[in-house]
Subunit: 344 residues, 3 copies
């Protein structure tokens, strides 16, 4: 429960309206009622602004005729995300350590933990303060888990992996499984290349459900600070993902991919081995990136991914191939007719 | 063990043959022997009909010369699916509640359950009658699980999710993980958009192995009655899938996708955010659907998905691009030659 | 710790250098130091050979001026994989059987096992000698697990599945979930086709993290000896994968796919139902294989996959469609001008 003047201060917005009005919830535009703060995601909402019974609406700029309490912020979505956190984050309350915790020899547990029942922690692992481990979590030997990290139910973390602070790992995700390394022998049998590296997940990462993040062959697979992965993502051995990069579901990174910081990788993307994707690049959905990509590039298409705008032009022409073929056929006939004519 | 007259009645087929003959199993055409009922999936099987030693064969229509006992049904595959259920469904026998069940405060368990060892149920959850929870299942607080539902090993269901009656959830699936919502701040750091909604899985759904179904941001992610999901499927936040729609493996629905009823979505399909797929639409394998699709549409291709038949024409021409380019080159040369000639 | 003469013998290499020099580790070229053996993966490394402080380097052939101890092997990568195994495989030491093992009635446990805490084994299952089952593993009734197999944390294996010897199953993988079989009834409701078959995983297979391998409808889904699957792979019911075939991440095989031996299937590939892929075929990344493919074929592209080289030609022309269209337009104008001219 906050006054608008206080909320405005906390989310970095300018208030136009009643500073003493009080909000208790952040809500979507459609559902917002008295007592709620909401936001106008785009221009379409602005026309419906005065129909909302929300107590306050976050907008990009105040316009004449707007009768609501307005919170003006350069990025309404960002300001709203902050309002959501301020109004809805449940304060952390340690639930304590379940009596059935299996803590390996030499493992260390921090303070104020929330260790749910049926958690297994390997020997010499170090678990930080205020860590939440949900039921069914299995943590290998010599792992470390940073302060304030939450690991959801049935996550498996193999030996020797390092997870930073304030990380969230969603259910079913596997961290540290062997990279896919095999060499065929003379009989065509696959000989395993042992995978001796680790996985390092730095602070403030979030990893979705049922991802698979392989350990390095030599050296580490690394998610740098602030990486956000959606669900069902494959991260091959020795891949490194740069700070604040976001990756959507069902994307797969081959071994040794090096992705820059603040990249946007859409869903069902794939990358070739050992390529680099520069800082700030965008890869649109379902692209197969076969070659290295410079910083800030926007790539799209199928396989191989192309410059996004070039691809769009190609794709439009692809969808017109029947017409192009017909025009070609007509030209051929015309030329043949004329040719026949001139040669007669 | 059933007489053919009784079986015919139960599966809605017309019997041509011995009403007192007895079957004990349903079997594939290749393996069917005396005592078995099988079916002829297509015309290829009809020629081999008299070679089968099956006691009865389900066919679409009786033809002269067929010597087997025939069960005539408009959809042999459907009739056979029913025969399979009738002859092979194991009657439900409650295995009881494992002594090690961890049942949160205020949680309620129905009657005649089969709660295997090592199950965790959160506080205030409600579990219906005749529910089977396999080992390693973790159910969050305030969840509800309907009567006769089966949840396989190592499934994780987050707080506040609702699962209907007669639902089957296969192993490793995650229901209710956070949707993928982030907004970059001025420094490019990703600020989490809290995900306050739920997942609602209605009656008679089946969800394959290792799927990830995110909770809504606001409001719910919904699988309507009778939805069938294959394995490794991503369902983004606030997606709604209509009644009786089937979805094949490795498909991903972005946030806010709205899929109609009785749609067929093939494998490795992807959808753009906030689009709608109309009732009865078919999306063929590996299509990236970028725009809303009307009811009964058939879409295919890569990205963007197109009308299926248009795409097939384009794709045939794509595979002939070398010939098209060669024809263009020939024309250019011809015209240049003639041009040169006429200007000489 | 091995002398080079001994190592050369064990990995089948010829030594050029000091037979008494000693190595203790196998390391990547970049990190190799004194006491290490490494390998030159390709020609680029050869120029840096004399800069390495590795005690020995595996190469394809000795060249004048190479001053390191050389181990000459026809496939340096294969020889190195063997060196890795020789120097880094931890000898198996049984950790014993956790006191909390839940072993179903009639289940049999082999000798020298490593059964971690919180493992559940169904009735009448047979677990071989020296098997490692990590925490959270759930094995169904009547399963069999061969000698020396390792099943990682939180794997679920359904009833009646058979896993061979020396198999590795990574965390989160599901073996034996129901195949995706449904038939619509007259009201469009999906009727389940019961899945009565099994999964058979033969000796020496390795299955990555979070895969889903469905049981057969009738008969079995089979991974033949030596198959290697990466992470997040879908294997539909009754699919059979031939010996020594390798499959990269996020690939999906529809029901009844029959893949030959020693095939290479890259990432994010999909296959149509009931097709066959011949022995030794290669399917490049992100191809949708819609038709059967002969032995040794190389297929690529999007959907439908084509002969790889044909596809590459098509794809190059696809990326030049704007130029092709422009040339066509120019020709049309030219012809129209001439036509107009000649008809005036």
């Amino acid at each position: 429960m906050l006054t608008l003047s206080r909320l405005a201060q906390l989310i970095g917005a300018e208030l136009v309206g009643d500073p003493e009005a009080v909000v208790t919830r952040a809500q979507s535009f459609e559902s917002a009622a008295a007592g709620d703060v909401t936001f106008a995601a785009n221009a379409a909402y602005l026309t419906r602004l005065n129909n909302s019974s929300a107590t306050a609406i976050i907008v990009k700029s105040a316009e004449p005729g707007m009768r609501s309490n307005l919170l003006i912020a350069p990025s309404p979505k960002l300001a709203f995300a902050r309002a959501l956190q301020i109004l809805h984050t449940k304060p952390y309350r340690p639930s304590g350590v379940s009596a059935d915790l299996l803590l390996g020899e030499g493992a260390v547990l921090g303070e104020d933990s929330s260790i749910h029942p049926r958690v297994t922690v390997g020997s010499n692992a170090r678990i930080g303060d205020r860590v939440t481990l949900h039921s069914g979590v299995v943590i290998g030997e010599r792992c470390s888990i940073g302060d304030d990290t939450v690991v959801h139910a049935n996550v498996a973390i193999y030996d020797d992996c390092q997870i930073g602070k304030r990380v969230i790992v969603h259910s079913g995700t596997v961290i540290g499984s062997d990279g896919f390394g095999f060499v065929a022998d003379n009989d065509g049998r696959q000989v395993k290349v042992l995978q001796l590296g680790r996985v390092v997940v730095e602070d403030d990462c979030e990893i979705g459900a049922n991802c698979a993040i392989d350990r390095g062959g030599f050296g580490d697979t690394v998610l740098k600070r602030g990486v956000k992965l959606d669900n069902l993502i494959q991260v091959g051995h020795n891949t490194e993902i740069g700070e604040d990069t976001v990756v959507a579901a069902l994307t797969g990174f081959s071994g040794g991919t090096r992705i820059g910081r603040q990249c946007t990788i859409a869903g069902q993307v794939g990358t070739n081995q050992h390529i680099q994707i520069g800082d700030g690049a965008t890869i649109t959905a379902r692209s197969g990136v076969t070659k290295s990509v410079p910083a800030k590039a926007v790539m799209g298409g199928t396989i191989p991914a192309q410059d996004y705008n070039s691809w769009r032009r190609c794709q439009v022409l692809y969808s017109r191939l029947p017409q192009l073929a017909e025009r070609l056929r007509r030209l051929e006939r015309l030329i043949q007719d004329r040719g026949d004519g001139s040669e007669k």
